[in-house]
Symmetry: C2
Subunit: 208 residues, 2 copies
């Protein structure tokens, strides 16, 4: 099973590494970290990823995973990136995104009239791009799967593993990755965090 | 603040990207992805990371983060890697590990008589290497912080951010990364998963 983990400058590494670490637990997965060119891609935490594959080399992946991140707004104008997503989707078994990556799916015309989620700070952008907004953490609409902000990609990874293979397989991966989260605080959503904190993060994400 | 995120072949990308994504939310952090040589490092999910810095170029990071992963056993025999950890530790404000990365701290002599945690499948290895085992998800012993398997590095990231800066800062990062986990299953620890699943994963991790 060929999975395309899509790369672009300024993306958030955890958006991609969350689902990739989960899905790559399966021995049948051939993971491709794909970009427009073979040049290294710098993410928004300074991690530099070396693509394994170019868009031209993998036109029909079975699964497509599109991250979001600090570069999301510039990425919407990256024609090669948006075209790749639009072209790969019709042949894919599953098309997925994490965080503001859903704005890229929308820009590629994949989310029109579809239920989808995104990072909480850009929910209105997703609506403007034609999606039917959900605030759920992981949303399945047909073969399109979207996750909320950053860390939600891990939850999506396990849900997707259950859909691709079966629940016991996904449960085994969860044990292997010791995914028994114990967040030290309870500020992980805008409904739970103080209003001034929500305003500060919202401004920062939208200015990126 | 210079943070050394340590790289080696076969490491688990999520072990490192979890804490790096959290800590790099702070604008004062200069993230260095350090390896023995400038050559790209292939992780156990096929993600290839381009080092930004070599061990020789960053001898005194303020924070050291050591991942675990499929390559953990071979890494114990990697003298350059173990020496780097041993040499950097005395000058570091915080020395940390995720998953089986704690076996590398132990091999470097840092965990002798210290409370520490690790991936559940290699707990006995950590004891053999001289640590005082804890099965907690995140363990602070002085300025040494260890996390349990893979995804526990995210929880460690927030706890460490609170210790380095303060709790409101860490809470703000948690909101930014939308860390409000909703695992689809409840099999993330050996105490919760079926015994045959525990045995299968234990064998796989130890054979790596």
């Amino acid at each position: 099973m060929h999975i395309a983990f899509v790369l672009y400058p300024g993306m958030t590494a955890l958006d991609l590494v969350g689902p990739s670490q989960v899905l790559c637990c399966h021995p049948a997965v051939e993971a491709h970290y794909v970009a427009g060119t073979p040049d290294p891609v710098r993410t928004d935490s300074g991690l530099v990823i070396q693509p394994t594959t170019t868009f031209a080399e993998l036109t029909a992946p079975e699964v497509l995973v599109v991250p979001g991140g600090g570069g999301w707004r510039r990425a919407l104008d990256d024609t090669a990136l948006v075209d790749y997503i639009a072209t790969a989707h019709p042949a894919a078994t599953w098309t997925t995104s994490v965080c503001s990556g859903s704005t890229l799916l929308a820009k590629a015309g994949i989310l029109t009239g579809k239920r989808a989620t995104t990072h909480w700070a850009v929910r209105d952008v997703l609506v403007e791009l034609g999606a039917e907004l959900s605030t759920d953490r992981v949303v399945f609409d047909g073969n399109v799967v979207t996750a909320a902000g950053v860390s939600a990609g891990i939850d999506m990874g396990f849900a997707l593993a259950a859909a691709i293979w079966d629940e016991p397989t996904a449960q085994q991966f969860q044990l292997g990755l010791e995914y028994d989260p114990q967040p030290p605080f309870d500020t992980g959503s805008p409904e739970k965090a103080p209003a001034e904190m929500v305003a500060a993060i919202r401004a920062a994400v939208r200015a990126a």
